[in-house]
Point group: C2
Chain length 188, copies 2
DNA sequence: TTATAAAAATAGACCGGTCTGTCTATTTTT
DNA sequence: AAAAATAGACAGACCGGTCTATTTTTATAA
């Protein structure tokens, strides 16, 4: 992996675990095994640019994972269920250290760093659009609202899962998927 | 207000806006107009103890607000709607700087500071129990699950609201309250 | 193919500032 | 007089970021 990619990967992991403010530049370059010069060579914009690149990498990574789980399933219900399972696996295998890759940064930056929040928004938009395309592909009259509702509930479940160190909130979300899909295309 | 309370209030506001890691002790004491000696006099445990005290204050404050909105409403639907409206007001009047008081800290501390996460969990437990008691008071066969589901969806909506700087996620939650209550006590 | 110039990347010392936390006084209250 | 609270200097570590070399790679020309 290139030095640039290594910086992004390390940053992505650290901000996912403890957020942006608690993740230092020195910590990042030490974990990546690179000198500070390299970091500011690839990311002249400093920490903010690096964080945005890390968010961007999540956009691609999760977007791909979403598509894979969608296309590998026969029904929309199964697809959404697979996405939830994906996060269940991530949570348990990391002992609840790895939650939603962007939520922590989103809350940290909401009032203070508009540029970072914009990056978060781009990731969200991509996830929702990706999900929406899948729902339509599966023949559902799914619109952006349906996909947005699912992601919203997923975010809530991920917050609660990390607080209580339990997958129960996500298991409950899985139970509600059918109902969520049914209710959506009956309402205007 | 006592010096101790002032420290708690200031800390509560700051961690709500930008989290725990980005909020410094010096910033807190400056905003509170107190010397460092006072801070470590009241909170010998340092930053963590102060943050936990701030979380505790949120427990009381929001718990009271919840009860007030519940008792002031005729139906359970109206009560829950009032809670959502409470957050809508907080978000808009603060220009989306003030979201859920504990979510940011919850995500920041989930993997790194167990003591703080425990504080978050105590707040959540209190909110859920308070909500549950209200649902039963209103004659619903509401159990902990119903209240937990509502809070979970509220958390998700609050995250999305801050990302998109919009109250729409919360407005959509309001529309789903009736359905949420109906579905709950029909399932075992 | 080799010599050389230009560009890219690596390396880390260093800067001013801020971090949490400690410590000793001094003032205020009991 | 004793206890509580206020006051802030100070310490050692770390912060993000800048800056100058040095090494490595790439491109070009003989």
């Amino acid at each position: 992996m290139s030095s640039r990619d290594r910086l992004i990967q390390v940053t992505a992991r650290l901000i996912r675990e403890k957020g942006m403010a608690a993740t230092g530049i020195n910590e990042i370059i030490t974990a990546a095994g690179l000198p500070k010069g390299s970091m500011y060579h690839y990311f002249p914009g400093g920490k903010e640019e690096l964080v945005k690149a890390a968010l961007h990498s999540y956009k691609d990574w999760l977007g791909q994972s979403f598509k894979a789980r969608m296309k590998g399933s026969t029904t929309a219900e199964q697809g959404l269920c697979g996405i939830v399972d994906f996060f269940i696996h991530d949570l348990t295998s990391s002992h609840y250290v790895a939650g939603c890759p962007v939520a922590t940064v989103a809350l940290e930056s909401a009032g203070t760093a508009p540029g970072v929040t914009e990056g978060v928004r781009e990731v969200m938009d991509h996830w929702i659009a990706s999900l929406c395309a899948y729902l339509q592909y599966k023949g559902l009259a799914g619109n952006l609202t349906t996909a947005t509702d699912f992601i919203t509930q997923l975010e809530g479940a991920l917050v609660m899962a990390r607080i209580y160190q339990s997958t129960e909130p996500l298991e409950r979300l899985k139970l509600k998927i059918t109902e969520l899909l049914q209710n959506e295309h009956t309402t205007p």
